[in-house]
């Protein structure tokens, strides 16, 4: 059955050949949630196979499984017709599978030659031999990199060349590129494409992950679209268009059914927060937008678009540039917070995207987590703890957010992801903020809990609070927002009224 499916979508070049790699019915489960589910993926020698999908669609999970960084929960991993099971990346590397990461994994203080040999060092190395070998390898690839230069001094494009040379040095037959062009200039991209074609001509199989759909269409032989961990389609690139890809990525009908429509009424009131030309390093560049009381503003954008950073800048957790950093006004008054505490005292809240890293206190029970939120504010502080106040507060939020009350006496770390997220919400909302930033409010949350969180977001806006929702998940943005902003490379590039926003329009703005 699997064979039949792949025959349909066969690239012309590989008709008679066997796939070098095949994942059959591969699934990976994290804590009960499928990161990828029942994915059938194959790769032929001398093929460039692009993987596309939204953030969280399962692209990197699939690639990590292929590169041996994680193991599939179920399903077969077949290499050269034999079932394999890689325990660690080193095993996969030995089998000729190499992943070139987004953030380069080179050691900056070592020279290019040393980096190429890294992990394969002999007991004694002569620098001269090493450099000559590296020079020969680099020249054979047509890379103009001095093998004796420390990698930290090289530009991004050259670093990538060193990474690729390392892959070739390791006799890679399968190379996985994760967003290889993200930090390259247009000229460098052209050069990079030449290189990919070169590798293909040598019979190397290439998996190519990119957010830029045009690039995938241009360079790939075949394209696989993933959505919510499932494989939507694998087809020759020639038969696909940009629009078709977007449609496959979004999966309109499914999303509509789960998330329902957008709410109809919304009363825009006072303008409470203005962000004007805010700049922070390379992450946020000249970002401007406003937020009004009583509305939900959705900020869509890919990872790295500056959406989380701007929320943290407003909240005082990150600092914008001191010179030409732009202005942030709270009800007309310019603000610049040194620490989040000041923002909290002014009624601004930020609910983290990574609750495990910095959202809750894992040794404490639900009630204590909620209580400590209010204790940390000026209004709610009292020197002595009060059990009565703690219970009253926790009861209110447990009830309002429908937190599983059976688990009140359990440490929060033992709760489900959805309940943890609700406790983080309660801890923040107990501080009675008037402007609330939600960063990925339903990441890692079970499906049953998502409607509770969305209902709370709307309720807060109806109570007259200004709510900003940052999410990678477009159906979520469409479901909760009154107004939608799209961030790309540190700027707000588009604004839609919820009434005429569609996933296609948002995605188009976000990727190009």
């Amino acid at each position: 059955m699997n064979d039949a499916a792949s025959l349909v979508a066969e690239p012309t070049a590989a008709k008679t050949r066997e796939p070098v790699l095949r994942i059959a019915a591969g699934s990976k489960i994290y804590g009960g949630v499928h990161a990828i589910e029942n994915v059938n993926f194959d790769l032929y020698p001398g093929e460039v196979h692009a993987l596309v999908g939204e953030n969280g669609a399962g692209k990197s999970t699939l690639c990590k499984a292929i590169a041996g960084a994680i193991q599939l929960t179920s399903g077969d991993y077949v290499l050269d017709g034999e079932r394999v099971n890689f325990e660690q990346p080193r095993d996969a590397l030995r089998a000729g599978i190499c992943m070139v990461y987004q953030e380069t994994s080179l050691v900056p203080t070592m020279t290019a030659a040393q980096n190429i040999e890294l992990g394969n060092e002999k007991l004694l190395t002569r620098f001269r031999t090493l450099n000559i070998q590296a020079q020969q390898l680099l020249q054979s690839l047509n890379f103009h990199v001095d093998p004796a230069t420390p990698v930290g001094l090289l530009g991004t494009a050259k670093k990538q060349m060193v990474e690729i040379a390392r892959a070739i040095y390791n006799k890679a037959r399968i190379i996985i590129f994760d967003e290889p062009t993200a930090s390259l200039t247009p000229e460098e991209i052209v050069h990079f494409f030449h290189l990919v074609r070169d590798l293909r001509a040598r019979g190397v199989a290439i998996i190519y992950i990119s957010h830029a759909l045009e690039e995938s269409l241009l360079i790939a032989d075949r394209i696989t679209v993933l959505r919510d961990g499932r494989l939507v389609i694998t087809a020759p690139a020639k038969t696909l268009t940009r629009d078709a890809l977007v449609q496959h990525m979004v999966g309109r009908e499914v999303a509509q059914a789960v998330y329902g429509g957008r709410r109809e009424t919304h009363h825009r009131r006072e303008k409470v927060l203005t962000v004007e030309n805010v700049t922070m390093g390379m992450a946020v560049k000249n970002m401007s937008f406003s937020v009004y009381a009583g509305e939900v503003v959705g900020i869509a954008g890919l990872i790295g678009s500056g959406r989380t950073e701007i929320a943290k800048i407003v909240f005082g957790a990150l600092k914008r540039n001191l010179v030409n950093g732009g202005t942030i006004r709270l009800r007309g008054k310019p603000i610049r917070y040194r620490v989040p505490r000041q923002a909290i005292d002014d009624g601004i809240a930020y609910i983290t995207e990574d609750r495990k890293a910095n959202g809750f206190f894992e040794t404490m029970i639900v009630d204590d987590n909620v209580y400590i939120g209010t204790l940390a504010t000026k209004k709610g502080f009292s020197f002595l703890l009060s059990r009565a106040r703690r219970s009253k507060l926790a009861n209110y939020w447990v009830d309002r957010l429908k937190i599983n009350a059976l688990q009140r006496k359990a440490r929060i770390i033992e709760l489900s992801g959805g309940n943890q997220q609700k406790v983080v919400l309660a801890k923040t909302l107990a501080q009675e903020p008037s402007i609330i930033f939600f960063d990925e409010p339903t990441r890692g949350v079970d499906v049953g809990t998502i409607p509770h969180i969305h209902a709370e977001i709307r309720r807060l806006a109806d109570e007259g609070k200004a709510v900003v929702v940052i999410s990678s998940y477009l159906p979520e943005i469409l479901a909760v927002s009154d107004r939608i902003l799209v961030a790309r490379t540190g700027r707000i590039v588009a604004e839609f009224d919820a009434a005429d926003a569609t996933q296609d329009k948002i995605l188009y703005a976000a990727v190009h």
Binding site: G31, A343, Y350, K427
Partner: protein, 337 residues
């Protein structure tokens, strides 16, 4: 989850304590009880009132220092200068008494010296953001040097005719040595502070997850300074008991292994180096275990090298236990997602 002991019950309301595995305090308490029974049955003169009081008296200085160290370790810090603060502040205080300063003023001088050093430690950790381990290690050397400069003697004697000054170390109330009572009162006060006040709760949250505490709006920097000042305060108190007990302050202790004994009682009792875990109860249990071992060794006449080996092994065992109870790897970090 059932609450196993009455002591845990009093703090469970405010602290947290809900372990799937037995918690470390309970394991250590059990070991201590077993040891007490075994030594009581096998060693002559162990299970007498006077020996047991002596056992408790011998651990009270370690215990008071342990309360301070416990506080700082709960907040994910460490203070290796605690013993040096104790010795240094009192060496300066006592030398002034020898030169004619009234004892009450010397007591306040020692207190001021201790608090200033604590505040400097705190400021370095909180604002310069230097690692606590190195800040306090360096502070220990600086204090040692400064104290020697002001009080150039290995041993600085306390005046023998000041019973009030020596009362906390040498006195008895109803037959009970006062150091035990000082330790008990300090422990109760610390327990109330940690479990019944919001500052105590903030200290736990800082140790649990400093970044989450920052994003929740807890004023971390002032909190850190306060923590190091409190450690210094307890070091000063321990010094007051020390001079009463021995009649002098010995600068040699700043160069010895005493500070590691303090860390030992804290870690054994279940105050995890990970932060945010354990309580005053941990310090008390850890002290009693170490006190029991040392007391039995003294009766058995075990030499100090063997004692050191056993102490080292116990510390290692405690750290292994801590790792087992609070594993920190990727898989556990991912649970609940």
């Amino acid at each position: 989850m059932a609450i196993e002991s009455p002591v845990a019950a009093t703090e469970a309301g405010h602290v947290r304590l809900n372990f799937a595995k037995p918690n470390q305090e309970q394991i250590v308490l059990l070991i201590t009880i077993v040891l007490l029974v075994v030594f009581g049955a096998t060693l002559n003169g162990f299970a007498t009132v006077s020996n047991l009081l002596n056992l408790l008296r011998s651990i009270s200085i370690l215990g008071i220092l342990g309360l301070g160290m416990g506080l700082i370790v709960i907040s994910r810090g460490i203070d290796l200068s605690e013993v040096a603060i104790m010795a240094g502040s009192w060496a300066i205080g006592l030398i002034e008494v020898q030169q004619g300063m009234p004892p009450w003023a010397a007591v306040l001088l020692a207190l001021a010296v201790a608090l200033v050093i604590g505040a400097i430690n705190g400021l370095m950790v909180a604002f310069v953001e230097a690692p606590a381990l190195f800040v306090t290690l360096a502070a220990g050397f600086v204090i040692y040097g400064l104290a020697f400069w002001f009080a150039p003697a290995w041993v600085v004697y306390a005046p023998k005719d000041e019973p009030v000054l020596l009362f906390l170390g040498a006195g008895r109330i109803l037959g009970i040595p006062v150091p035990i009572l000082v330790f008990a009162v300090a422990a109760i006060a610390m327990q109330l502070f940690l479990s019944r006040t919001s500052i105590g709760r903030f200290i736990y949250s800082q140790g649990d997850n400093p970044e989450a505490a920052r994003l929740t709006g807890i004023p971390l920097r002032p909190l850190i300074v306060l923590e190091y000042v409190l450690v210094a305060l307890l070091a000063w108190l321990a010094g007051l008991v020390w001079i009463g007990t021995t009649g002098s302050i010995q600068m040699a202790i700043t160069q010895g292994t005493m500070i590691f004994d303090v860390v030992l009682v804290v870690v054994i009792g279940g105050i995890s180096l990970v932060g945010g875990r354990g309580s005053v109860y941990s310090v008390v249990v850890g002290c009693v275990l170490i006190g029991t071992l040392l007391n039995a060794f003294t009766i058995m006449d075990v030499n100090s090298e063997v004692q050191n080996i056993i102490k080292g092994v116990v510390l290692l065992a405690a750290i292994v236990l801590d790792n087992w109870l609070h594993p920190r790897d990727e898989e556990t970090a991912r649970q609940g997602d």
